[in-house]
Symmetry: C2
Subunit: 220 residues, 2 copies
DNA sequence: CTGTGTATGTTGCATTTACAACATATCAAA
DNA sequence: TTTGATATGTTGTAAATGCAACATACACAG
């Protein structure tokens, strides 16, 4: 029994697969565990990556460095999270970003070809793994498209309306709670917090919506 | 022999699969062809979609309608293109966008479960189809992430630097051609064309880069 | 209750951007 | 070559944004 089971269970890659079965799948996938010290590279920008990563402990940062050497943290992931799944499935020559251990971390790497190719013994769980992997990447895709649609609007007001409209649609009601505070929402939409706050006030004055903290209601 | 073979060959879903084999796969996938008149729905926002679409002839628009009913074309696809692949693989309850035939079109719909589940006769091509589907969605994912990274920058200059930097990195040289004209680049980055043109001029004056039409060179 | 930290709202101002209008350059067809 | 269509560059002005600073509200630990 792998000592990492409780963490692996949280990983969406294994969704719908029983504890006992996770244990059976791992050797079939040739899953291997690696340790990384703080600030060491898991992958670097020039690497070809054919493995998805699952964080068993610690956390990692995805870093982008531009032509002039300016660095930027694109995202982060922690225990139970999957990472590098898009890079490995895309089979690109270089991933163009770096993956750094943000602290001392244990990471399980699984070759994604092993996931795709059903093994000779016709392991029943491959189909589920494939469906999970597809679902994870496809879902991320939808969220990214949604975000781009909202960020593509030219004004603060239009970005807010696009975002709030999508949130209302998601729950099927005109009243809803958002999962962001003001600063987080501003960062998500890549706009200024104070300008956003003012704009929200103006929109309320014009009767477009009402809000209190993270609760919003849109007016038809 | 399917009459659609020449179009299907262009579809990335069938990349790496021989003509004769495409013909064998189709019945195995229960692929079905539908016709749509101009401005009729292929899918509507409230649908659950479990099929990927392949355009055999004509073209489609992906449309988003917000809370107040304002419509927006998010993307379009034409003969040989795949669409709805993210929605079907994500297994979401509703796709939240509409797919409309932009003209009289023929569309082949394939249940994505059929693609994922290797058939009983152990059809050799399923593995390739799965790999293709994953690769297509993962690649799109990477492009979307890249675009978001660039759009997230706050100023016109920073957006341009992020974009140009990524293009230079892609070819591994500081001189490169971009696939956009000025208007298209401005739309891609969600900024104003004339402001972008001025900013490019200023950046050239400051010695950051040189350019002529769609050829750029970055200066270290 | 009080104090402290954090989240949110508000305002003024400097900077940046969008927009419109026009100038120039490029390219293809007549 | 001329003409028209399209792409790109330039400029001025109005509007929007980012920023800093401060005010207010709220949550929570002591």
């Amino acid at each position: 029994m792998t000592p990492y089971l409780s963490t692996l269970k949280k990983c969406p890659l294994f969704a719908g697969i029983d504890d006992t079965d996770i244990d059976k799948i791992l050797p079939c996938l040739s899953a291997t565990v690696f340790q990384y010290e703080k600030n060491t590279f898991v992958f670097s920008a020039d690497d070809s990556v054919f493995t998805v990563g699952i964080i068993l402990s610690g956390s990692i940062h995805i870093i982008k460095e531009d032509f002039w050497g300016r660095k930027d943290i694109l995202s982060q992931a922690e225990a139970g999270d999957l990472f590098a799944e898009s890079f490995s499935c895309a089979q690109s020559e270089r991933i163009a970003v770096s993956v750094l251990a943000a602290e001392r971390s244990e990471v399980m790497l699984v070759n994604c070809r092993k996931i795709i190719k059903t093994c000779s013994s016709a392991c029943l769980f491959h189909a589920q793994l494939i469906a999970n992997l597809l679902q994870i990447i496809a879902n991320k895709n939808i969220l990214l498209m949604q975000k781009i649609e909202q960020m593509s609007k030219r004004t603060t007001r239009e970005k807010l309306l696009a975002y709030l409209s999508a949130e209302a649609e998601k729950v099927g009601r005109s009243a809803f709670d958002i999962p962001f505070n003001r600063q987080e929402l501003a960062d998500y939409l890549a706009i200024d917090r104070s300008a956003m706050s003012s704009e929200l006030g103006r929109m309320r004055d014009e009767g477009l919506l009402t809000f209190e903290r993270n609760h919003f209601e849109l007016m038809a």
